[in-house]
């Protein structure tokens, strides 16, 4: 049972990890993340990298949709912007990969701010539809701009660190996971600051927020910019990971995937973004194993994909109807159970 957690200063109250147990668990998690690549085989390393990229992007979307309340179906388009930036820079400039990642984030941020401009005129669903339009515009740009390789896309040479090419899952893990951890911590910290609270105020009732003195357009654009920065960096990581970027790599369905991830995980919590991304990335893998196990004779291989699509839809509908606060809420309930044990309420 959790006791002796009275806070004695504002600083303590606002801390990210506010008790010793939490800090110990966080340290253990860090150790586990470091030890993982040495224990997992190639396939699980691949999955871990993919999950990390999705976590980064989902966290970005959470900032925009979960915390600021601006629904966006353009996250994949911003990832595409980031990925293409990395690809173009690698081809024309070369240079240090961290710089390319930063450039990817900045370009995506610019895109995000442009897309966010209509947010002064339109709200809610209409804004979501503007982001869908942005998705299509981005796709058009990717296909038809002269320097983006057209429908064939572009290949990306692996990132180089001191002469070592990051071309295996093991090596690139050390790039992707620390960057993701940094971004997640950054997002968590964001919501201890004035800016984060302003976002939450906008989500809850934006007219009231304006009355309170929060300049709406500026903060909405900031939110768009930040979330697309995250998407851009995630897209850059994606480019270094898959090493081929095509216009079909970032379809609208991917944006829907991220939105579903934060809904399933829990909108408006950092943990929700992480849990949701992990869950939604792992479900297809688990499904494939489960369908293979079914006692159905003959080739069940062709049923995996439709079943996966159905399960995807069922998850979204199910979580929205039965558990609107997502996996994060489930997690909180478990934690409360342990905090209160042996008491019940």
């Amino acid at each position: 049972m959790r006791i002796a957690t009275a806070k004695e200063s504002y600083l303590q109250d606002e801390a990210l990890f506010d008790s010793r147990t939490q800090r110990v668990w966080a340290a253990l998690l860090g150790l586990a993340l470091i030890a993982y690549p040495f224990m997992a085989n190639d396939y699980w390393l691949y999955l871990a990298c993919l999950v990390a990229i999705n976590v980064a992007s989902a966290t970005g979307l959470n900032i925009l949709t979960g915390y600021t309340g601006l629904v966006s179906l353009g996250q994949a388009a911003f990832m595409g912007l980031g990925a293409y930036t990395v690809a173009v820079m690698e081809h024309h400039v070369g240079g240090f990969f961290l710089l390319n990642l930063l450039a990817a984030g900045v370009v995506a941020m610019a895109g995000g701010i442009v897309v966010g401009i209509p947010s002064l005129r339109v709200k809610g669903l209409y804004l979501a539809i503007v982001t869908i339009a942005a998705s299509f515009l981005a796709h058009f740009l990717f296909v038809n701009s002269g320097f983006t390789g057209g429908t064939g896309g572009m290949t990306v040479p692996p990132a180089q660190v001191a002469g070592v090419a990051l071309d295996t899952s093991f090596r690139i893990y050390w790039l992707i996971v620390p960057v993701t951890v940094l971004m997640v911590l950054g997002a968590a910290n964001l919501f201890r600051t004035r800016i984060g609270r302003a976002f939450i105020a906008i989500r809850d009732r934006d007219i009231s927020a304006e009355v309170l003195g929060i300049p709406l357009l500026r903060y909405k654009l900031l939110s768009f910019g930040l979330s697309s920065f995250y998407a851009g960096v995630a897209g850059g990581l994606w480019a270094y990971f898959f090493r081929v970027v095509t216009p079909e790599s970032f379809p609208l369905i991917m944006s829907i995937f991220f939105l579903a991830a934060i809904i399933v995980g829990g909108m408006g919590t950092i943990l929700g973004g992480i849990l949701g991304a992990i869950f939604m990335t792992m479900v297809p893998e688990v499904l494939r194993i489960l369908v293979g196990l079914l006692p159905v004779s003959g080739d069940t291989l062709q049923f995996v994909s439709p079943v996966r699509t159905i399960v995807f839809g069922l998850l979204i509908v199910g979580f929205l109807i039965f558990e609107p606060h997502g996996l994060a809420e489930v997690w909180r309930r478990i934690r409360r159970f342990f905090h209160l044990w042996p008491f019940r309420n």
């Binding site: 296909v143 899952s169 898959f242 081929v244 095509t246 079909e248 792992m282 489960l290 558990e323 478990i334």
Partner: protein, 395 residues
Amino acid sequence: MSHRYTGLSRFMRRVVAPLGVSLGMALTPAAQAQGDDIVIGGSIPMSGVFAFAGVGIHAGIGDYVKMLNEQGGINGRKVVYVPEDTGYKVDVSVAAFKKITSQNKVNLYYGDSTGFSKTINPELDRKGDILMTGASFATEINDPDKFPAQFLVGPDYTEMFGILLKYIAQETPGATVAFVYSDTEFGRDPIESSRKRAEELGLKVGAEIMTPPGSVDVSTEVLKLRRARPDYTIFHGYVLAPIPEFVAQGRQMGLKSRYMGTFWTMDNSTVMQMGENADGFMGVMPFRYYYDEEKAPMLEKIRAMRPEYQSTAYMQGFMAAMLMTEAVKRTLDEGKELTSKNMKAALQSIRDFDTGGIIGVPISVKGNSVPVGRIYRADYASKKMVPASDWIILD
């Protein structure tokens, strides 16, 4: 309202159970190949938009492997086929590749799309011990320098257009041709080079019409086609739609064009779905159809194994397995190791090879492709595709 604690059981059911199963599965070893077996891995599009082809390819590869093993395998070594479904999505394909290669020592691989072949190329070069082919006939891959570990099971799309254009130039010198293609990488692949080819052969390219993928209504495009009044219209980059609409509306408008397609549109069932308008539809096929009457010992074996009609995708998978295993056999016969370099060299040594009648003439591998094909025409009365030309070999 008292807060009865039900969250834990819900959590168990929804999250822990699937995670537990997956963890269990990760730790138990999967059924896999023995030490010196030859392994063919496959990213097969058994579901998704290409499912029709994927099911056929899957059966084709599986059957050839079975046949080969019944004859003792390759130099006594068993051949094992390890497929995964990808739904024709590149990232799922890559995941399947990583999974199969981490659980087996893979020598040969079949990829499901052009996108996948391009994505996995650097990885293939790094690994250096896999020879790969796939469902893609992309022109870009027909480059032994850029894609040293890959090859195409037939002519690339530009070569297919080349065969069609050669036929047109023979039948109707100086004809007007129109290209109708989809706005995808698949569709755009051969258009540029084929335009030049057409001009070299003295044909006029009357129109190049691109349709957005998944478009329903092609009326405006058909109107553009009417403006061009082509003698021949070549479709590329589609599986079925919107070709039937084009053909139907073209006929209604009184367009006198003859219609042609490239490999993936040429399966019997696909063409016959056009109804009466299918009659006279032509296209280039590198392989024979299941029901071809001409003498072909391999076709007879297939017909014995599978009494019902097998699609062109089946033929493609079958041939892919044949070529891949032949490369392995030649490498082993020379006592060399199974590296991608050696296997590729063995593949390129294939000259005047008898495919048992799947392809009507002995074939040679040129570069990364096998540039041979025959024009077939749809005969709606008999619901079959009949040959309309000899086997054309490009250089």
